[in-house]
């Protein structure tokens, strides 16, 4: 009679199952390694976006919520929250405009930025695991969210859309280690690059050697690189053990909603060949862009 193990399985059967377990583990490991190639990683993007749509896009009201009057209460809360969000947006817009006005005064003939259009969405899932810190919001391409859209909430900048589904968007938080945001001090004007720290505060890199931030001053986006609009509130500067850190503004009030505004669009400059040559024009005294390039 075949000897049974402690778990009551025959040795042959047990080794077959052990083999299956190893095959599964190695299969999963091969899948993980294969995804280091961007082409293969992008191959799985539709799966993620469809799953995100299922998780984030479902906003149905249950019968129980209707019976208990929870729907009416939630509607009232939503109205009030919308009002607060609207007011907070005005506040953020005022800070942003004041900062921008100063820049306009300094630089003449500056092109104005287009008015902010945005989609407000509810945060339906968030992951605080060891991988990228992201949020899932229940608005996607169908609601007018654009790839690379900027997410803000009542406290300030939240992050950037990194994955866009039909009904959902995944937002990479500015608290993530891999996130990079060009920022500046509101008063000092010192520029730096912000990335997520491990202790819940933002870390700054590429700081100038001589000048520093002012303790407690507001940190705003500087719009360098063109990924973020200028003047969005990111947080406050803190000097901790001789190192400048950023206390995030969005962490103060996370109301469960984010507004996703389109990323700033900077038109690519026209190629030099298509511009009119200075010799061909009747007014030789006027300097052309092509001349600027030659110099």
């Amino acid at each position: 009679m075949a000897r049974l193990s402690r778990s009551g399985q025959k040795p042959g059967k047990r080794s077959a199952k052990r083999l299956i377990l190893f095959v599964f583990i190695f299969g999963a490991a091969a899948l993980v390694v294969a995804q280091s190639a961007p082409q293969i990683r992008h191959f799985f993007d539709p799966v993620r976006t469809v799953a995100g749509d299922r998780l984030g896009g479902n906003d149905s009201v249950t019968l129980w919520a209707r019976v208990t009057g929870q729907v009416a209460r939630e509607r009232r809360i939503k109205d009030l929250e919308a009002e607060v969000r609207e007011l907070s947006r005005y506040k953020a817009a005022a800070i942003s405009m004041a900062e921008r006005l100063e820049a306009y005064e300094n630089i003449l003939n500056l092109m104005g930025e287009p008015p902010v259009r945005g989609v407000t969405a509810r945060v339906t899932a968030e992951s605080d695991g060891p991988f990228a810190q992201t949020l899932l919001a229940n608005a996607g391409r169908a609601q007018g969210v654009e790839p690379g859209a900027i997410a803000v909430n009542e406290g300030g900048l939240v992050g950037r859309v990194i994955q866009l589904g039909e009904l959902s968007s995944r937002i990479l938080l500015i608290t993530d280690f891999n996130s990079r945001v060009p920022v500046m001090g509101e008063v000092s004007g010192v520029r730096a690059i912000l990335y997520g720290g491990r202790d819940g505060l933002g870390s700054l890199t590429d700081l100038p050697e001589r000048s520093g931030f002012i303790e407690g001053e507001r940190i705003l986006t500087s719009a360098e690189g063109g990924a973020f609009p200028r003047g969005l509130v990111v947080g406050e500067a803190r000097l901790l053990s001789g190192e400048w850190r950023v206390k995030y503004g969005m962490a103060k009030r996370s109301g469960g909603y984010v507004q996703m505004v389109p990323p700033p669009m900077i038109e690519a400059p026209e190629p030099v060949a298509t511009l009119p040559q200075a010799e061909e024009t009747d007014a030789p005294a006027q300097a052309s862009a092509a001349q600027g390039v030659r110099q």
């Binding site: 049974l4 009551g8 399985q9």
Partner: protein
């Protein structure tokens, strides 16, 4: 006259149910806890460390030895976790299966059902190994040492809740095995 009582103790429905209903019930519990964990989790302004529910299954189901059905369920849960945590596909599958295999290996080496010390120490070691594998995988794939604090908090909640609800994930015997076959 003294009431005549039966010599046998009345058995609960759970003790009478086989491994397949137990497996399904445990899977349902894991799915429910996992789905709840997707929503933003704050209590009085403090964020809650949500447990990694699939590890309960990996630890509990592995105690009766290896079987195909729990493995497939753990793969499915792992893939769902990969999507919800925005991890590369396969990461959580590896974690779940490694813990499951470790649990089954410990069960084959020691008496995890009757030895009180082993019954306590084994799940602790299995959870720690699971989170260690997860931390190593995440750090290797993200190209930097990822934060350990949220993982430790999740490890604590996962362990504490498992200590209270481990019976839910006790299959009694391997799925597919006949009654009386197990020792």
């Amino acid at each position: 006259m003294a009431k005549r009582t039966s010599g046998r103790q009345r058995k609960s429905l759970w003790s009478q149910s086989g491994p397949t209903p137990r497996l399904l019930f445990g899977a349902f519990a894991i799915a429910a806890v996992g789905l709840l964990g997707l929503t933003p989790k704050t209590l009085f302004g403090l964020s809650i460390a949500w447990p990694y529910a699939a590890l309960w299954g990996a630890v509990g189901w592995g105690r009766v030895g290896l079987s195909l059905r729990p493995m497939l369920l753990l793969i499915v849960f792992g893939l769902i976790q990969d999507i919800s945590f925005n991890a590369p596909f396969g990461c959580f599958v590896i974690v779940n299966l490694v813990v499951y295999g470790f649990s089954a290996w410990i069960a084959s080496m020691f008496d995890v059902m009757n030895e009180p010390l082993v019954a306590v120490v084994a799940p602790v070691l299995q959870f720690i190994s699971g989170f260690l594998v997860l931390w190593l995988l995440a750090s290797a794939l993200e190209d930097h040492a990822v934060r350990a604090t949220p993982l430790l908090a999740a490890l604590l909640t996962t362990g504490v809740i498992y200590a209270m609800s481990h019976r839910l994930f006790d299959l009694g015997r391997t799925p597919g095995q006949q009654v009386g076959q197990a020792t």
